[in-house]
Symmetry: C2
Subunit: 327 residues, 2 copies
């Protein structure tokens, strides 16, 4: 009986894939640079080769693979299995990726948004494995989100649910986004917001090791700020904790809409999580701000924590979606 | 076979109840002043009498009633059937109203939040009868919300979902609410926000028939402003359309979270809906603002409309919840 599930998380820079058992054990996994920029045919050929290789490495034959879960970024039609234009690269517009994968491997496949898949991974096997509902913030250059309610991903009527980075928290006097949305969580707490606030503080004369690094030729990036915060730089720490406050406002809006059992935070911009003082302070600020601004019961009971599966959440969640879809 | 459902919507000032068929036809309905202020025993006795009377009027005997749906305002534990303190009246704290109703009538009962029940009523038989998901704004003194996704009410992990009036849209520089939540939809678009904005405009010297009415001894209420807007008063119209813009920001946050098929607006403050020029302009502004501030696909496809069941949505939805729960 086929009882293994292949999950793949296609990203603009790297693609992760793995073979997962029905019980959630990853037998083999890989991470390869995406070759999407080489065009549609080369990109798909690279994807197929990656999937073939990881099935081979897992020691499980293709005959044992029950289904394939494909996670991809950007907007898409999830029920139709079509990605609209996730990589802003020629050849990737309106691609029926689910059916292409199914035809190539002769296996049933499902398509899911990458942040939704990561949320499902954390729900299945990660920090929310004992919860029935969660909202998952993915903090990177942009801010994504995924929502699971009663064990089901909330995909929305038009596959646009979980775009929580675009929640408006400052309708007047906030910066403008390319989408014409004012004052969104992403504009405040995302990479651009962090850099903008850092530049403003430096212009205002703040003392910081960030200034020395920039003058030494380093580029001002969120990771530089995060590194300085981890090293104890005061300005960097303040900027990171402000990010926690903005994310708290977004989280309050999630609580007042779907009231999830858990709110999780993951992605590249989580400052070392509990391994660093700033990661612990960030979580403290997030929790305190949420608790001080919502109703007593969700304030007391909503569990807020870091995600646990790291960069594997996407392919694991995609494999979990295939298990859910194909049994 | 029992195939009728009794729904009741308990409010602070009036209670509505009705007997509804499996197909959604209301056989009889009533609206009576609530006697909750007389204390718990008298309030419950009044409730039981109202339910007995409407079953009698419906021509359906109690033996034909399959179950009872009870809708009530405020915070509660929905699965436990307990209301916490919805009326701020002595005797109504932590009341196990579902079990009391079940014991009194020897019928299975369910408890639901009133705005959730109204959303379910609109989903079952109202403006969203052909949709799979919706968010329902109830505009009154406060602003409530109810959410249905894939035919299920989203109640939340702690029965606090749908509290969308408390979504923060202006985290800095906004007014403060009693809950310590800054700049919520309710503070801007609710009755207090409307009156505050009106008072500020009058102080600033705006010409308006509102001023004459107040000077003539009328109290400044949202309904006075709504009436003046319906009569074409320029200031009143501007205030109402501002309300539409604030509600649009809240709606965008809902779209970016759960991406519902429909967003509905109902309640006392809907300005005559399509029957008046201001009601039509209000809906136009709400739709335009939402469309101009979200992603192209939900901007194009999210259906935004007035609710259709009026004050009956709550008891109809409660009856529908009983049908769903008890078959």
């Amino acid at each position: 009986m086929s009882k293994y599930y292949l999950g793949v998380d296609i990203g603009g820079t790297s693609t992760k894939a793995g073979v997962v058992t029905r019980e959630g054990r990853t037998l083999a996994k890989t991470r390869v640079p995406s070759v999407l920029h080489k065009g549609r045919e080369a990109g798909l050929a690279g994807l197929y080769e990656t999937l073939d290789r990881i099935v081979d490495e897992s020691g499980v034959g293709w005959s044992q693979i029950r289904g394939i879960g494909v996670a991809a970024p950007g907007t898409m039609d999830i029920p139709a299995g079509v990605i609209f234009h996730p990589f802003n690269l020629p050849g990737w517009e309106n691609l029926a990726i689910r059916d292409l994968v199914t035809e190539h491997f002769r296996k049933p496949a499902i398509l899911q948004n990458d942040a939704n898949a990561a949320a499902y991974g954390e729900y299945w096997l990660g920090a929310a494995h004992d919860a029935r509902s969660l909202m998952f913030w993915t903090l990177g250059t942009g801010i994504g989100g995924g929502i699971v309610v009663n064990g089901e991903i909330v995909t929305g009527a038009h596959s646009h649910a979980g775009e929580c980075g675009h929640i408006v928290i400052q309708m007047e006097g906030g910066p403008m986004s390319p989408h014409g949305i004012h004052g969104s969580v992403e504009q405040y707490a995302g990479a651009k917001g962090l850099i903008r606030r850092c530049e403003a503080a430096l212009r205002a004369g703040a003392r910081s090791s960030i200034r020395e690094k920039i003058e030494g030729g380093e580029e001002l990036t969120p990771l530089l700020i995060a590194d300085c915060a981890i090293q104890g730089d005061e300005l960097a720490e303040r900027l990171v904790l402000e990010t926690g406050r903005y994310l708290a406002i977004g989280s309050i809006n999630i609580i007042h809409t779907i009231n999830p059992e858990m709110i999780l935070v993951g992605g590249a911009m989580t400052f070392g999580q509990y391994e660093t003082p700033i990661g612990r302070k960030f979580m403290d600020v997030l929790r305190q701000e949420v608790r001080s601004r919502t109703f007593p019961i969700p304030a007391e009971r909503t569990r807020i924590d870091y995600a646990r599966l790291g960069g594997d959440a996407g392919f694991i969640g995609a494999a979990g979606c295939a298990l859910k879809a194909f049994g």
